[in-house]
Symmetry: C2
Subunit: 131 residues, 2 copies
């Protein structure tokens, strides 16, 4: 018996796709404006994958507890290095879960709560309730 392989089936997508090819080094706060996907482009598998990590789940929960107030990356209690922390925020951002904006040297991030509730009703509730 012969099995036809994956053609029509949706392929796994890379979690983080580079948004620009500019050979940047270091931050450009105040200059760099973060890129956020349109919520219509956000897929459930990408959301799931972004939330499959305990660190990132913790970030989202902290943001939920902040109740709409934007937090600096720093304010989130996370016991990993700066680089790793930055990575996790980037993942959440490119998955469409958080919104980030520079303010001075800080980057303030908040949940895209309203949009998420519209596109994936029950998702945020699941996150906050899930033990």
């Amino acid at each position: 018996m012969h099995i036809e392989l994956n053609t029509a089936f949706p392929a796994r997508q890379k979690l983080i796709r580079p948004l620009s090819n500019q050979p940047f080094r270091g931050t450009v706060p105040g200059v760099k404006h973060y890129t956020h996907p349109a919520m219509s482009e956000v897929t459930l598998p990408a959301i799931m994958q972004a939330l499959a990590d305990p660190c990132r789940l913790a970030i989202v929960r902290d943001l939920q507890q902040a109740g709409g107030r934007a937090l600096a990356c720093n304010e989130v209690r996370l016991e990993v290095s700066k680089a790793t922390r930055s990575h996790h925020f980037e993942v959440l951002r490119s998955a469409g879960i958080i919104f980030t904006e520079m303010e001075g040297t800080k980057c303030m991030t908040s949940l895209r709560r309203r949009e998420l509730n519209k596109r994936f009703p029950g998702l945020l509730k699941l996150v906050s309730a899930g033990k």
Copy 2:
């Protein structure tokens, strides 16, 4: 400045942990009884990770559409090899999402719907609705 590294923080867990060390080769249908985690041990990150794959999401959706009826692995429309298919079912099983039982040479699987709805309310709805 010095950063304290990950001690108290919940570590990433391996997705599939071997359930036995027996050097088996091949299936033992009718003899092998699949091992399923207690729902109380199931964690949200593990669930999320299991559902982060398009194949597995498709499996869960097919099971949802079957409306409680158990399906043979074969009956799920999946364009991957037997081995890969088996792998994905194992991931879903060890994540606590599906229940599998041998019947002759077939393994019949169903969603652990009631338990899931109790422990993670809204999860299955999210899966079926999410585009």
